[in-house]
């Protein structure tokens, strides 16, 4: 595995244990997940015991310890979206991709996460595809989006 460059993330933050969350957020943004080797380096450079680095990595939803798929689909399950049927979107994912929220498809194309409210409540149900906010989502719209993301053509059932 290629060595990860942590210099820009650690610059100005070495030996400052209180920067741990910011450092990990930057690492997550840069690599898409938190690689084990990088966490060991962070522990050493910031002066935080490795167990505490892992505590933080597992506590906050922002962090993923496994690589994420090419497409990150985030379904908002906040109250307003729930009342408008976000459960249907989660069911759609289960039925169509066979994975649970938090998991990635076997081909590494799609990771699905749930988030407890992104603050766009009047436009719910909301699905965020990588950085793009998609409003008023329905299972049908999500089905088409997932098909496109997986690079799949229409199912044989439609024939």
């Amino acid at each position: 595995m290629a060595k990860i460059n942590l210099d820009s993330i650690l610059e100005g933050r070495r030996s400052q244990p209180h920067m741990l969350v910011e450092v990990l957020l930057d690492l997550q943004d840069q690599e898409g997940y938190l690689p084990e080797e990088a966490l060991k380096t962070v522990s050493k450079e910031l002066g935080v015991p490795l167990i505490d680095v892992y505590r933080v990595a597992h506590f906050y939803k922002a962090f993923s310890l496994k690589p994420r798929g090419k497409n990150l689909i985030t379904i908002c399950t906040g109250t307003a979206c729930h009342v408008r049927g976000s459960d249907l979107l989660v069911n759609q994912v289960r039925g169509q991709l066979g994975i649970e929220p938090g998991e990635t498809t076997a081909d590494g194309q799609i990771t699905v996460e749930c988030v407890n409210c992104v603050g766009a409540c009047a436009l719910g149900p909301i699905v965020i595809h990588n950085d793009a906010y998609c409003k008023n989502m329905t299972p049908g719209k999500l089905r088409r989006k997932l098909d496109k993301a997986a690079g799949r053509k229409k199912e044989a059932k439609d024939a």
Partner: protein
Amino acid sequence: MPRVSHAKDLEIIRSQADGRKSRTRLELVIPNGTCCQASGSAALIDAVRAELARQGLQQDVSVRVTGCLGFCEQEPMILVEPGNILYCQVSAKDAAEIVSRTVKKGEVIDTFLFLDPVSGKRIEKEADIPFYKAQSRQLIHMNRFVDPFSIEDYIATGGYQAIAKALKEFKPSAVIAEVKASGLRGRGGAGFPTGRKWEEAHEAPGDEKYVICNADEGDPGAYMDRCVLEANPHAVLEGMMIGAYAVGASKGYIYVRREYPLAVKHCRIAIQQAREYGLLGENILGSNFSFDVEVARGGGAFVCGESTALMTSIEGKVGEPRAKDVHTVREGLWGRPTVLNNVETWANVPSIVLNGAKWFASRGTERSKGTKILALTGRVKNTGLVEIAMGTPIRTIVYDIGGGPKNGNRIKAVQTGGPSGGCLPERLFDLPVDFDALWDAGSMMGSGGMVVMDDKTCMVDVARYFLKFLLDESCGKCVPCRVGIDRMLEIVTDIAEGRGRPEQLDLLQELAETVAEASLCGLGKSAPNPVLSTLRYFMEEYKAHVLEKRCPAAVCKALVTYSIDAEKCTGCGVCLKACPHDSITGEKKKPHVIDAALCQRCGICIGECKFDAITVL
């Protein structure tokens, strides 16, 4: 960049802005917050700018890109001033027409005006729209005058005059007295008197003190703080500066949840600009007061909205709350005296200093002064951000502002205060929205979320939803919260799935009361509220589930059956294709059938059917 080293420098910038404004014939205000962008406002802005340039109109017509204006469902929108003309749900392809007809010729285009769902009429002026009329828009109103990327816009509206006045005319203790007299109470949920909090921090021993802005806004269904922070970050900064001056702090943090990337960006830019202008840093406005602010990002944890958890998060640790026998105003961030206030609380401070405590206290009720921004969502016609004077009855908010029920169903309840709050039934809708009235009724104001529920909402399902949320977000440290919520959820799930027993209702009540008193932090202590309030006001729904194995709202999957109405079904086959469980069969153009044994009641077919042919019993 001109440095602002004296209050009169602010005046110069302000008059320069006034001068620019007087040379402008027309102003197009286009909101571009997170919600707006999700609806396509960015493309609209580009199209409008391009069209103005193409028609050579950019000299005396200005475009101001702002944050959220509150009427979220109607975005993208353009507000044309002067004239107060509001165009709703317009897109990039409408830009050419708007520029040619409205901007160039002053024509009002009817089809772009707001269509009132209650009266069926088009309304030209924003101020005449019923959604806005019953509101008391102090804070949100300022959003239209400010481009969040421009500190000069903020200064032009009188920004930073309050800190200038405080530094020149008030000793710190006088600032505290003014805030105390105003009656301002924390807008984050607890409603603690802000002046008293500042006083305790001021009196706490220690030289190193902090002020923090809590922008963790984790309540699902609440996004007021996101709106204020994206749209007018300088108002929050100025409030924090005044607070820091009052308590003796020289460093501040704005803790923003990472799910709000735009708010993080806008705050960072605002801080950068304030530093460049000399309004943050050493010797602000030529005084002895030095203050700087940093943005700290959350990692994704609802519990970090709790003050001690938020502070340990800034310290780089996990967000686990600690006992608050010693308050954070004495021992907070790094054990130092810390004032933690909510975004909306800070944003209210500059106007209190500028206009005085009496002005602020002239609005609101006896013990809840000022205004409150609410996020009105759910089963009403008009959803969005609403600002009301404290004391406005729930009924006014739901029917006059919200426009009444969507889809003609009967409105049954409102849920206020997010997962820490409770559900209030329709018969209590004459209650005024203020801290104490809601608390006494078994709910709370919380951060301001108000979800409207109709008779297609199952209150047992609502309790279950919030318990699931809180179990997911609990830090897990203490037994009553971690295990108690788990067991409450187990009982409510039993009830929702038809396995409920009458003695479980008593156990649920007893367990809820224990969790409420014995938990370590506010998350656990308020976790039982949705359960307790639904048991109190909607016991008949619980009883129906337990004694009759029936869900009155036809929501709980285990207790309902889906079937296709053969008279309405056209045999289009859309549901068959959509069903992920292969439970629907039928030939083209003939009525389809659902196999109840395979059907998982996921609800996808209902969403897909265009003929309303699927019934739930």
